[in-house]
Symmetry: C2
Subunit: 355 residues, 2 copies
C-alpha cells in the first residue's frame, strides 16, 4: 500500500493506494467519528462492491445505510442530490454521520457535495472505483452537480477525511472508461512531469492490461502531482488552473455533442491535443512534442480528433466555461512537455485549430 | 459609523453599522472584484430599498442584476434557491460576480448559500434590513435553506466580504419583527455580558422607539459579542453553541406550531425563559435572574409562555435538532446572567418546565 498525503492547511488527509483495500475496514474505522456511516453508490457499483464493503463495516460494529442511486452523468443533478439529502433526513442522520462515496467521479462529486451541505457539513470518505476518480476527481475537494445550463455549475470545495483507492476495483472497469481515466494521467505528465510522461510512453501497454504494479505507480504519481498542486492553491486562484489543460476545449466538446456522447476523459484527450497545437502556433511547444502527445493519447485508446462543431459554436460553448474572466477565455497551454502556462489565444490561432 | 471586525483566520471581514449606509456605495465598491453585482432581495424589501441601492451602484458604473424573490420563510427552500441559481446562469454570471443580499435573515441565508455553491463560491455582501439579520444572521457565516424534514438542514459555512447594517432601514420594520430581533440581542446579554444585559434593562424603551443611538449601541455590542464567539469557533465545535441559548426549545416551538406561526425570535424568547428555568432547577441561575430575564423579554414585547405541545411531542421535536449527539440533547444553560454552559437535562426537570 502507498500513501499520498494531501497537505491542505485546514483539512489535510491521506490517499491510500493498493489492491484489496476495500475488504479491510481498518483505515475507514480510524476515520469514523461515530459508529455509523452512509454508503452512497450506484446500481452498477453496488452490484460489484457494496456487499463486501458493507459486510466488513457491519462486522466491525458500524451501522450502515446504503443509498443506491441510478447510474449515469445525467443523474448528477438536483433531483438525485435531493434523494441523498432526503435519505439522510429520513434516517435522522446526525452531524457526525460519515458519508462514504463508493463509485466513480459522478458518485464522488455528488456525495461530496451532499456531505458539504448536509447540516452545513458532515464527514466524508471517498472510495473511488474508476481510474478517473482515483487519479483526479477524488483528489482536491471539488464537489458539484450539473445544471441544465452548465456542467458542475453548482458545488463546493469540500475535503474528504480519507481516500481509499482500491486498484483491484479497476479490473471490472469497461475499457473505454479506463482509457478516459488515462487521459487525466497523461495530463499530469504533460503539465508537470516530463519523466512521468516518458514512463507512460514506456508502460502504456502494462497499464492497458491493468498490471497492478504499473497501476500503483501511475495512480501514486498522478495523485502526488495533483495533491501538490491543490495544496499550493486550494481555491483555484493560480497554478491549480494548470489541471484544466485540455478542459476548456474538452468541456465544449462534451456540451457541444451533448453530455454522455464523449466521455469526459475522451473530450479532454482531444482537447489536450488542441492545446498542444495552439501552444505550437504560439511558438512554444515543438512539433516533436505535439507528436509524442498525439501518439501517447492514441496508444491509450483515446480520440485525438476533436469533433467539427463549427467555429462560432466552439466559441459560444467555451464562453460558458468557468475559466472565463471578464469575457476573456484563458487557456492552459504548454511550454514543453512537463511545463504549463496560461494565456489567451488570438482568434486566428483558434480558427486554425478548431473545425 | 461603527465598525465591528470579524476576525476569522481565513476570511476576516468588517461589519459597518450606521444610519444611511445604503445610499453610499463606497464601502460596497471597495469590495467588488468586478464591476457587476446581483442584488437578491424580496418583494417587500425591494419596494422600500432596492431603488436607492441599485441607483447608487449603477451611478458608480456597476452593472446590477436584481433578483426579486417572494417574501416569506416558506420560500426559504430548494425551489427558491434554484431560482437564484437559474438567474445567475441565465445571465452568465461569472466567478467574480458579487451577490448582495438585501433583506432579512431569509434573504441573507438563501443568498449566502447561493453564493457558497454557485460555481463553488462567489463573493458575497450582506445588507441586513431586519434587526435579527443585523445582530445575528448576517454575522458568522451560517447559510442555509429549509427541508420539509427540518429547518436550516441544508447549507454551508460561508463568509461575506462585508456586512452593511443600515440602521435607517429598521424604521420600516413591523413591531413584531423588531421585537423578534430584540430576543437575540437579549440573548447576547444573557450568555456573555451582564453589563450589556443591565444596559438593555435601562434602554429597552429607547430601543423600542428605534432611537438611532440606542440602536447603534445595541447592534454594535451584539455583533461584537457574536463576532468574538464565532471567530474563536467558526465551525461550531465548542463555545459557538452558546449562541443557541433557547434555540433547542425555540426550534421545537417553531416546528411544533408550524413554521410561521411564531417568529424565530419569539420562539427563542420563550425558549430562553425555559432554559433559565431549567438552569434554576439544576441549582445554577437564581430566582431573581430568572425574573429579570422574564421581565426584560416582556418589556421587549416578546412571549414568555411557551405553547403546550405535550411532553412527548416536545421531546420528539427536540430530538430533530442539530444539537443532538448520539441521541442526547445538549442544552445551553445559564450559570448566571452573562455566563452560559452546556449540559443535558434530567427528564424530571424537562417534565417540570415543558407543558
Ligand atoms: N471533482 C473533481 O475534481 C472532478 C475531476 C474530474 C472529473 N470529475 C467528474 O467526474 C465524473 C466522471 O467520473 P467517472 O469518469 O468516474 O464517471 P462515472 O462515475 O460515471 O463512472 C463511469 C462508469 O463506470 C462505472 N463504474 C464505476 N466503477 C466501476 C468499476 N470498478 N467497475 C465497473 N464499472 C464501474 C460507473 O457506474 C459508470 O457507469 C464527471 O461527472 C466529472 O465532472 C470531477
Ligand atoms: N444565518 C444565521 O446565523 C441565522 C441566525 C438567525 C436566524 N437565521 C434565519 O433568519 C431568518 C429570519 O430572519 P428575519 O427575522 O430577518 O426574517 P425575514 O427575512 O423573513 O424578515 C422578516 C420580514 O420583514 C420584512 N422586512 C425585511 N426588512 C424590512 C424592512 N427594513 N422594513 C420592512 N420590512 C422588512 C421581510 O420582507 C419579512 O417579511 C430565519 O430563516 C432564520 O433561520 C439565520
Ligand atoms: Zn478532467
Ligand atoms: Zn436565533
Amino acid at each position: 500500500m502507498q500513501t499520498v498525503h494531501v497537505d491542505l492547511a485546514h483539512a489535510p488527509y491521506d490517499i491510500l493506494i493498493g489492491a484489496g483495500l476495500l475488504a479491510d475496514p481498518q483505515a475507514i474505522l480510524q476515520h469514523l467519528t461515530q459508529a455509523n456511516a452512509v454508503i452512497v453508490t450506484n446500481t452498477t457499483v453496488a452490484a460489484l462492491y457494496l456487499a463486501p464493503l458493507q459486510a466488513s463495516l457491519v462486522a466491525a460494529g458500524v451501522s450502515v445505510l446504503p443509498v443506491i442511486l441510478p447510474d449515469g452523468e445525467q443523474y448528477k443533478n438536483w433531483t438525485t442530490l435531493n434523494s441523498i439529502l432526503d435519505a439522510l433526513l429520513e434516517h435522522r442522520c446526525e452531524r457526525k454521520t460519515t458519508l462514504i462515496a463508493l463509485g466513480g467521479g459522478v458518485i464522488g462529486d455528488m456525495t461530496g457535495f451532499a456531505a458539504a451541505i448536509y447540516q452545513r457539513g458532515v464527514p466524508f470518505i471517498q472510495i473511488p472505483t474508476t481510474l478517473l476518480a482515483q487519479v483526479d476527481s477524488s483528489v482536491g475537494g471539488k464537489t458539484a452537480i450539473n445544471h441544465p445550463l452548465g456542467k458542475n455549475m453548482i458545488g463546493a470545495f469540500y475535503q474528504p477525511r480519507l481516500v481509499l483507492a482500491d486498484l483491484a476495483t479497476l479490473h471490472t472497469l469497461p475499457a473505454r472508461e479506463f482509457a478516459a481515466g488515462l487521459a487525466e494521467v497523461i495530463k499530469y505528465g504533460l503539465i508537470d512531469d516530463a519523466v512521468f510522461f516518458a514512463w507512460l510512453e514506456q508502460n502504456i501497454a502494462a497499464l492497458l492490461r491493468r498490471d497492478v504494479e504499473a497501476l500503483a505507480y501511475a495512480v501514486e504519481r498522478s495523485c502526488s502531482i495533483k495533491a501538490r498542486i491543490v495544496a499550493s492553491d486550494e481555491r483555484e486562484q493560480g497554478v491549480r488552473a494548470f489541471l484544466n489543460l485540455g478542459h476548456t476545449f474538452g468541456h465544449a466538446i462534451e456540451a457541444g455533442l451533448g453530455y454522455g456522447q464523449w466521455l469526459h476523459g475522451e473530450a479532454v484527450a482531444a482537447g489536450m491535443l488542441l492545446a498542444a497545437r495552439a501552444s505550437k502556433l504560439l511558438g512554444n511547444l515543438g512539433e516533436q512534442d505535439v507528436q509524442r502527445t498525439e501518439a501517447l493519447l492514441q496508444a491509450a485508446g483515446l480520440p485525438v480528433v476533436a469533433p467539427a462543431l463549427g467555429f462560432d459554436r466552439w466559441m459560444a460553448l467555451m464562453a460558458q466555461d468557468k475559466k472565463v474572466e471578464r469575457g476573456h477565455i484563458r487557456f492552459v497551454l504548454l511550454r514543453h512537455i512537463g511545463e504549463a502556462y496560461i494565456a489567451t489565444l488570438p482568434e486566428q490561432h483558434l480558427r486554425e485549430i478548431l473545425l
